[in-house]
Amino acid sequence: MADKSSLALVKRFLREAIAERKILAIVVVSIIGSALATLFAPYILSIAIDEYIIPGKYHELIPIALLYLLALLAQWLFATLQTFYTEVFGQKVLKNLRAKLHRKILDSNLNFFKDKSTGDLVSRIINDTNVVNDVLLSGLLGGLGSIISLSGIVVAMLFLDVKLTLVTLSSVPIMVLIALYFGGRMRRAYRDTRQKIARISSVVEESVAGIETIKAFNKEKHVEKEFSAASKDTIKAYLRVAIYMGIFWPLMNIASLLSVIVVIGYGGYQAYMGAVSIGIVVAFIQYAQRFRGPINNVVSMYDSLQSALAALERIYDVLDDRGVEEYKGLNVDRLQGRIEFQDVWFEYEKGRAVLRGINLFISPGSKIAIVGKTGAGKTTMANLIMRFYDPTRGKLLYDGIDGREINRRSLRRRIGYVPQETYLFPGTIMENIRIANPEASERDVVEVCKKLGVHEFIMKLPKGYETSAGETGKLLSVGERQLISLARAMLKDPDIVILDEALSSVDPKTERMVQDAMLKLMEGRTSIIIAHRLSITRFVNKVIVVDNGEIVEEGPIENLLLKGGYFYRLYTSQMGESSLIDISGRG
């Protein structure tokens, strides 16, 4: 376990944790204080018995009793300080770690997310940080306390009697062995119960989410059986824990009693021979019962270190990932909106080009539509304009400047991007629109919405602009969500707009609303529409047809239709249907 890399991991973590020096100092002092105070009570007891009580020194009993009280008070005080400050220290480190991870996720480029599941990332932020805190901070500090008090007990015992100490310690190796043997097994068995419970909850989750299907296909009995099996597994897992714990605790207890018995047997013999005093034997009996806790602590800490290291590794794995966006370069305040693709190639995975030598000039203020089959590379072109990715080869120019030289953030501020799927932040609809431009007032938002023709739709929601986005999650259709996204884009007053038409079905009325809002937003701006429904191509200056990563046709819609090529075929095959939709919309 103590290989170089894990040691380096812990070192790095501790270096970062030590930033909270003041609190750490209090923690260390209270740990030492608490360990020392714990030792004193039995020691004082032995002296009191031997030198005051048995000789019958009645009057001097008060000061020694006060001393005993003092030792116990100190024990309480230090324990309280230790409890509090250890946790505060740990929580501080934990908080910073979580913030760092979140920050990192925000700064990562889109490549970063490709091979990571959301659940896994969230688990790193929540669970792994907790494990690290429990084991590496609370655990290490607690373990430190345990080691100090263990060695303190041994030192104090040695002071009293060397031989008796050695005899008393004979049970320590037994306890260590027991703790080593059962510690890991107990923890694994316990973890197993958590997994079994998680399994139960996923069965419930699935059976609730899929209830319609379950009922429709008469699967109730089947799901019930599955649930019963998962539930029975839990029982088994818990019984295993019960067996391990049931053996572990009594064994530790007996080992601890063994020390007491040895002290009574050997100490009694020594006292009988007059070699040690009665007070010392009493003190040893008290000490002998104090090994159990600290030994258990130290061993279990050692044992859980492995999982803490794994958690730490997973955390640093994210923090050290190099897929970060840089925010360097030129700040642009305003763009004319001239965009140029110069022999742009792009591949998400090495060797699989999605764009192959795109050359495209978009003049300021013009409107273009990109059409083509799914997977042709349309959305990738939008991704490149947004600088979510940079071209693998070739370059993209904005007003003649290479995109790589422009600060991403300042560039994105000038582009209004309306994705297919609108993401709504937790908060109200108002907040969700305003987030695009925090300087805008609520009145500005309403004005923009009115201009786009979205206002009335929002006012129909249960609480108008104050409706919470969470509530609307189930309430709003894809198209309606896109309306909010359009308002967002408009509020930014961007120089360039990119519109990714929603793919899934939108009812005709909303579709028309979305289309109207889109056209409003496009007015006077360089506009790029990724079109799935070709009806919108009627409103653009130029249509770009992409297929398999290449531009196969480009030009005004009339020209392309006259030409009778790829676009013509696409258009005629769809328009027959879309005119039908128009009719149904009127009906």
């Binding site: 116990l72 946790e87 419930v204 319609e212 296909f217 019930e224 007996i254 013999y269 006292a271 034997v281």
Partner: protein, 558 residues
């Protein structure tokens, strides 16, 4: 008392394990006795052996301590095992009851209830009850008897010191109970806030593209920090309570032990107490530290555990006893004639979606229903599939009210394909064979072919064994729809209900599927809901709905 009733009802779930449970409790009493007697044995070893110099007495007591220790261990093991086992089985039955009750619920219930809540009922609440039955009750019995045994032996040694001990126990239990009651709600809030942070982070990841395109990283991170700080503050206040109330018993015990030390010392000098007895008193106080805490926590926890139980009972009680009416029948030879007679339907949101619907569909007839969103067209399918019951009117299948047909029978006749079919986190093969687990591979492939999904499935690296969902392949809306369709086709139903079956398909696939549906729907009664008129060529009749009523109806010329 209400909570007593809950407790009795909970204990009744022990059923065949009740004896184990009682036996376990009996053993715990024995365990408490063995724990309580050890300090006395140590005392005897000191007084009768070491001090009086009778070495063999010391050895005798030492061996006796070992014996009692071993017995204690055996009692501890068997008591724990029996109680955990019996309470695990009790909770198993409870959990099954709750789960079955959930399954029996009407769809309305699921419209109103968050799935997170149900999961929490079945996992967290049952966990809490298990802990209560196996751990809390065990510690309660153990602590009470340990205190009784300890006080009994103390009383035989010294009255005054016993008084001190008794008084101390009272204060410490009170403190621990207060501690438990104060710290629990904060831990609940910590758990909740952790959930908030988790869902916030999930949102950041899900919305990363939006965040980046709006350049609002700072803003988002600011909000995250706010929640993060809130969690920190909650944790610190929980720690404060732990540090103050959780540690206070040590203070009280310290003072009590000092008092014992002093008065005990005096008593020894006056020869009314022995050294061994003083040590025994001090050992008792140490032995009782943790049981006293457990006692406080048990008392503080009873209310919450019973509340958890009553939440589960509520789930069980709120569900209908059976999905079918007592005199439900089976249709032996279904023809597929459907009739809606003046059907009204109102959802729990208060929206009335069907307002006196009248519609007759002949066996083998195919109907397309169109209309704007919210016009009630999907509700027609759901009400025929009996997911909802009409508040007025009747829905008849072959002349029988669907509510009078056994649900298993009804669902083998009527197959419903929702707009977004639910795909289980399992292999595609299992997903298609959902309603017919014994279907052969040929049948499955045939159904997939007809649903125009076979090629896609074959293109996957593991074909039909590909696992879908979380850890597997994710499917697009269109792919899910077609798997849902394959699922229904495998069942070969008399009546097929399709909710917008082409909504997520591209034009080409749509055209092909429509062609195939013409074969598929032959000789079946079919009701198709869609926005797209391209489906009209499938139908014998097209119905247009608005506001819960049929506004236009025309025979198809095809």
């Amino acid at each position: 008392m209400a909570s007593l009733k809950q407790l009795v009802r909970l204990l009744r779930y022990l059923r065949s394990h009740a004896l184990h449970f009682l036996l376990g409790l009996g053993i715990v009493v024995l365990m408490a006795y063995t724990s309580g007697v050890i300090p006395v044995l140590i005392k005897n070893a000191i007084d009768e052996g070491i001090i009086s110099g009778k070495y063999h007495q010391a050895i005798y007591y030492a061996l006796l301590i070992l014996l009692v220790g071993v017995l204690n261990g055996i009692f501890s093991f068997s008591g724990r095992y029996l109680l955990i086992k019996s309470s695990q089985y009790a909770v198993y039955h409870l959990r099954m009851d709750a789960f079955k009750a959930i399954q029996r619920q009407e769809m309305v219930f699921f419209d109103k209830t968050f799935s997170g809540q149900l999961i929490s009922r079945i996992t967290n609440d049952t966990e809490r009850i298990t802990r209560f039955l196996s751990f809390r009750i065990r510690m309660f019995v153990y602590s009470i008897f340990l205190i009784v045994v300890s006080l009994y032996y103390m009383l035989s040694m010294n009255l005054l010191l016993t008084g001190v001990a008794f008084f101390t126990i009272g204060i410490v239990v009170t403190l621990n109970t207060t501690y438990a009651m104060k710290v629990r709600p904060i831990y609940d809030r910590i758990r909740q806030q952790t959930g908030v942070i988790a869902s916030f982070a999930t949102g950041t990841i899900a919305g990363i593209k939006t965040i980046k395109s709006l350049s609002v990283e700072k803003n988002v991170h600011g909000n995250f920090s706010k929640e993060n700080n809130e969690l920190y503050t909650l944790n610190v206040s929980a720690t404060k309570i732990t540090a103050i109330y959780g540690n206070a018993p040590f203070l009280i015990l310290g003072i009590a032990m000092s008092a014992m030390f002093y008065y005990g010392g005096i008593a020894i000098i006056r020869d009314v107490l022995t050294v061994g007895e003083l040590v025994a008193f001090l050992t008792y106080m140490l032995t009782m530290t943790w049981p006293l805490r457990a006692l406080g926590f048990t008392i503080g926890d009873i209310q919450r555990s019973l509340a958890a139980a009553s939440r589960l009972f509520e789930v069980i009680d709120s569900s209908p006893h059976s999905v079918d009416v007592p005199d439900a029948i089976e249709l032996k030879n279904p023809k597929g004639k459907v009739e809606f007679r003046d059907v009204w339907l109102t959802y729990h949101t208060g929206k009335t979606v069907l307002k006196g619907l009248n519609l007759k569909i002949d066996p083998g007839e195919r109907i397309l229903i169109t209309g704007p969103p919210g016009s009630g067209k999907s509700s027609i399918l759901k009400i025929l599939a009996r997911f909802y019951a009409p508040e007025k009117g009747e829905v008849l299948l072959d002349g029988v009210d669907v509510r009078k047909i056994k649900s298993a029978n009804l669902r083998s006749i009527v197959a419903y394909v929702p707009q977004e079919p639910f795909i289980f986190n399992r292999s595609i093969r299992e997903n298609i064979a959902l309603a017919k687990p014994d279907a052969t591979m040929e049948e499955i492939i045939e159904a997939a072919r007809r649903a125009k999904i076979h090629e896609f499935i074959s293109s996957l690296p593991e074909g039909y064994d590909t696992v879908v969902g979380e850890k597997g392949v994710t499917l697009s809306g269109g792919e899910r729809q077609r798997i849902g369709l394959a699922r229904a086709l495998l069942l070969n139903p008399r009546v097929l209900l399709l909710d917008d079956p082409v909504s997520n398909l591209d034009a080409q696939t749509e055209r092909k599927l429509v062609e195939d549906l013409q074969h598929i729907l032959r000789n079946k009664t079919a009701i198709i809901v869609s926005q797209r008129l391209s489906l009209a060529k499938l139908a014998d009749r097209v119905i247009h709905m608005e506001d819960g009523k049929i506004v236009e109806e025309k025979k198809n010329s095809y």
